[in-house]
Symmetry: C2
């Protein structure tokens, strides 16, 4: 086992920072459900509340604002009656595709792995973690 060098350390943070930037945008309970709900076309505020089950108005309002600030969602006001506000994904949001895809694929694969390990565990009766020395 070797000590971590300065070079390695700066490589770490070089990876870590942008990864965290991405996660800040995607993590939390509602951001992805909202994004996914909008992938099939623009929607109005109340339509999104219906589509994203369980979200409150307060959360939706806040999350939409965040997503808009990050350039992922565009807000259009139609000055008709009743006042229509629609939300749509931006072109930029499409760049998230590979990110979402890799997360999806890994999620599926990882679950398979855990299931398999569980089977092995049951048949072999091996222990995962020994009691603390």
């Amino acid at each position: 086992m070797k000590k971590t060098t300065e070079k390695e350390h700066s490589a770490c943070t070089g990876i870590l920072k942008p990864v965290r930037d991405s996660l800040d945008i995607l993590s939390g309970k509602w951001k992805l459900p909202i994004i996914i709900a909008l992938t099939f076309g623009e929607k109005r505020f109340t339509e999104i509340t219906q589509e994203v089950q369980g979200i409150t108005d307060r959360m939706l309002s806040k999350e939409l604002r965040d997503l808009e600030l990050n350039g992922l969602v565009r807000r259009n006001i139609q000055d008709s009656y009743p006042v229509k506000v629609t939300y749509a994904l931006t072109e930029h949001s499409k760049t998230l595709r590979p990110v979402i895809n890799s997360l999806k694929n890994w999620g599926i694969m990882h679950k398979e792995k855990l299931k398999q390990e569980c089977r092995e565990f049951k048949s072999a009766g091996k222990k995962t973690r020994s009691p603390v020395a």
Copy 2:
């Protein structure tokens, strides 16, 4: 604007569930820093606390346990004096590579985009969000 169909809706959740599974494992303040700290070789408990600046023993202990349960980290006890416990990434953890990479790349790209938009905003003086109708 069209109503979301049932078919579309089930496609949504089909994406959403595994994505959330992945995010559950990667999100939070410490999981990735720990994983990244271990990419350069196995480390002991105290070495990780030094490498991952700001983490408390309690958090490290908890996060390592989570990561071990998810099969991403292996724990080895050497029964020497002083008792040595080392942590290393598993083979399975390497499957995270594309995930981390896509998050990293998107994070970098997204930041660039925001910076650029900020410049445009300043020069054009356009407003992002009109006052509520």
